[in-house]
């Protein structure tokens, strides 16, 4: 009997099927403006975002997909949390978070696809149709 592979640590790569360039090149995240990217006058919710580790690899946690986003480039000393936040914001702004990718198909009410991260984002969820079980008929009463 075939036993399916058990994935214990679901990360962003497993969910999307590939790595993203900003996981491997610090130059791609250096220009991310963290304060401008978040509501309020300070880092706001990013204060809770820190550089963590997933299976020994530096990683930042993406709440929108409940997964870790691994970081493969060397992180300069003293900038651990800043770089982790910049990688996460880049991930969200480019719409690569798995939670964002699911929106177009599954969200049940109209909302901007990229949420608060990108101004003027395309609307999704405007034509949600409730799935209907084949052969099922609503009761007469």
């Amino acid at each position: 009997m075939h036993e399916p592979e058990k994935i214990r640590s679901i990360d962003a790569e497993s969910l999307s099927g590939h790595r993203f360039p900003y996981q491997e090149d610090i130059a791609l995240v250096e220009d991310v403006d963290l304060v401008a990217a978040t509501p309020g006058e300070d880092l706001n919710w990013l204060e809770d975002i820190e550089l963590l580790q997933e299976e020994g690899t530096p990683a930042v946690f993406d709440r929108y997909s409940n997964s870790f986003l691994r970081i493969y480039f060397p992180i300069p000393g003293g900038r651990e949390n800043e770089i982790a936040r910049k990688v996460l914001i880049k991930h969200l702004q480019e719409g690569n978070s798995y939670g964002i990718q699911l929106k177009a198909k599954h969200c049940k009410f109209p909302q901007p696809e990229l949420g608060p991260w990108v101004k003027g984002s395309e609307m999704v969820g405007t034509d949600y149709q409730r799935p209907v079980l084949e052969g099922w008929e609503p009761p007469a009463h």
């Binding site: 214990r8 204060e47 809770d48 608060p116 003027g120 609307m123």
Partner: protein, 260 residues
């Protein structure tokens, strides 16, 4: 004399079948204002979403909310929303991005489940304020009820007045700054996070202990006081988790993610 009690509107908006957007707002210079006096809950929220999502406006004022429940919920874009009055329960909840100013009081469970954003409440707030907060700032210039920040997983809650019992119950991350007195059971069963209290603490909850003050605490307090115009910070006590209830050396991945 016969006493007649008549409910003239559906405060919860649950039986309002009309989803037509009222389109009653006055729009000028990129800002919109509408009077909610004659609108139902559903119509108010439909008007708000129409302005923010379809019209692309970023600054909306709602006049005369009349303490209706569930107003300004589930808004997932950067914008400014001003509520010129008080709200009932579940006001300004499930937000991701908005900066909301409520110029009155709010009922229970306001600001719960916010991912990011800022909510400033000028009056008092009910119990369960900012329950399960994930991120962002919630500032209540008045007092709050019991179980403020229950299950908080991030963000900062600032209360200028007193807080009720079981404040910070099951807190997992984030920060609370309570400038007044706090009721019994502060930080009961908290897993992580920090609670600062300016007044008296009736009693500490299970596994909530005094913490050591650091420069990072001073920086946080001074920054938040400056941003929200709260004046000079008073002397605060710091409380953290004593970690005596930790039963695992390492968390399973699924459990670990629950507290991130």
């Amino acid at each position: 004399m016969e006493s007649v009690t008549r409910i003239t509107y559906d405060a919860r908006g649950l039986v309002e079948p009309d989803v037509t957007v009222p389109r009653v707002s006055e729009i000028e210079d990129g800002r919109a204002t509408f009077d909610a006096t004659e609108l139902t809950t559903r119509q108010i929220n439909a008007e708000l979403r129409w302005l923010l999502y379809d019209q692309g406006l970023e600054d909306v004022t709602i006049l005369n909310p009349r303490s209706r429940h569930s107003i300004a919920t589930g808004i997932l874009t950067r914008c400014r929303i001003t509520i010129d009055g008080s709200l009932g329960y579940f006001g300004a909840t499930m937000l991701d991005g908005p900066e909301v100013h409520i110029k009155g009081r709010v009922g229970w469970s306001s600001c719960q489940n916010m991912m990011s954003g800022v909510v400033v409440i000028d009056g008092n707030a009910g119990s369960l304020t900012a329950a399960a907060l994930r991120g962002g700032d919630v500032v209540c210039r008045g007092r709050v009820g019991a179980r403020t920040g229950i299950d908080q997983k991030g963000g900062t809650i600032i209360v200028c007045g007193d807080a009720g019992s079981m404040t910070g119950f099951m807190m997992q991350r984030g920060r609370q700054i309570i400038l007044g007195d706090v009721g019994p059971g502060l930080g009961d069963s908290m897993y992580d996070g920090t609670i600062y209290v300016g007044g008296r603490v009736k009693s500490l909850g299970v596994d909530c202990v005094p913490g050591e003050w650091t420069d990072a605490d001073t920086e946080l307090i001074e920054r938040k006081f400056r941003i929200y115009g709260l004046g000079d910070p008073p002397e605060l006590q710091k409380f953290v988790c004593g970690k005596q209830l930790y039963n695992y050396d390492t968390l399973e991945p699924s459990e670990r993610k629950l507290v991130l």
